[in-house]
């Protein structure tokens, strides 16, 4: 089983109210020193078999058409994740 990970983040110029709320909550736990928090999304897309170039291309297309909205978000990372199954190692 192969897996592609897609990370999506709010664009830098978009105010991220959720990240700000998390940043305000941290000091209440005694965790100081983080001046800013931004919150994004991580998607894990799994395929039966190895992650080929075609699979990565499909994942990139999914990332820009459905998984993110380019008006407010950036796709910051699309990559095959090393599988836990030895047989699939290196397939990507």
């Amino acid at each position: 089983m192969g897996r592609v990970v897609v990370d999506v983040m709010p664009k830098p110029e978009i105010l991220d109210p959720q990240g700000k709320a998390v940043a305000r909550a941290l000091p209440r736990l005694g965790i100081d020193g983080f001046v800013s928090v931004r919150q994004g999304r991580r998607f894990e897309l799994e395929v039966d078999g190895p992650v080929t170039e075609e699979v990565l291309a499909a994942a990139r297309q999914a990332a820009t058409t459905l998984l993110s909205n380019p008006v407010i978000e950036d796709v910051v990372h699309v990559a095959a994740e090393p599988s836990t199954e030895p047989s699939a190692q290196g397939a990507a």
Partner: protein, 231 residues
């Protein structure tokens, strides 16, 4: 009789209210189902509010790919009047029929209030019964209502008179330029966060000049489209 379609997606909440508003305005509401790409010869379409697909992923993101939306996008391109209310507005931005997007309210809370708006553009099929500059009261209820767009898009919307409604006195969610509603270049596609279908009948709307719950400013959205279609 003029036929106005009201789309139901899984998780739509205000389709019945929207259909009722259409009926009170004097048109025939036609239920449109998300999985059916047939628009059943309607003369206009309303995308009502709610939480289609539970707002999963992003509000409106999954509804955009419903079969009915392929037909709505095509018909909108041919000039069919389309009104997106709240979640319907979010579906219209995700479908790229309207620019920009909605993100979480700047204060992070769900907001429910009787909202003052200024009608900025009375030239669209959904606002022709208003007068530009007119102040109206329309209920507002949402969590993801903060309208955002890049500076170039905002400048273009302002220059082309495509800001249709602006929040008055209070900006309830941090929307850029106090924007409550916009239209496409042709003007036939209008989206707004407040809910006109909740202000169409005395006794059930927001407070108005004649007393509590007498506000019916929302009704003119629906009579406007009838005026436009029938004359």
């Amino acid at each position: 009789m003029t036929r106005i379609g009201v789309v139901t997606f899984p998780g739509t909440l205000d389709d019945r209210d929207a259909a009722r508003a259409v009926r009170i305005a004097g048109a025939q509401p036609v239920s449109l189902w998300h999985a059916d790409d047939d628009l059943h010869q309607v003369d206009a379409v309303v995308l009502p509010g709610g939480f289609s697909y539970g707002d999963y992923l992003r509000a409106g993101a999954i509804s955009r790919f419903a079969p009915v939306m392929t037909s709505v996008v095509a018909a909108a391109g041919r000039g069919l009047p389309v009104l997106g209310i709240c979640n319907g507005f979010q579906v219209l931005t995700e479908s790229h029929l309207l620019p920009g997007s909605m993100v979480k309210n700047d204060h992070l809370h769900f907001v429910c209030r009787e909202q003052q708006l200024v009608v900025e553009n009375d030239q669209t099929p959904w606002t022709s019964d208003f007068t530009a500059g007119e102040q109206i009261t329309i209920p507002l209820k949402n969590q993801d209502g903060q309208y955002v767009a890049d500076a170039a898009t905002l400048a273009r919307l302002e220059d082309e008179g495509r800001v249709v409604f602006r929040y008055h006195e209070t900006n309830p969610n941090g929307s850029r330029h106090d924007i409550a509603g916009i239209c496409n270049e042709a003007g036939n596609v209008v989206g707004l966060m407040p809910h006109p279908e909740h202000a169409v009948e005395p006794g059930f709307g927001p407070d108005g000049p004649s007393g509590p719950r007498t506000g019916t400013d929302g009704l003119r959205f629906f009579t406007s489209v009838l005026t436009t279609l029938v004359g």
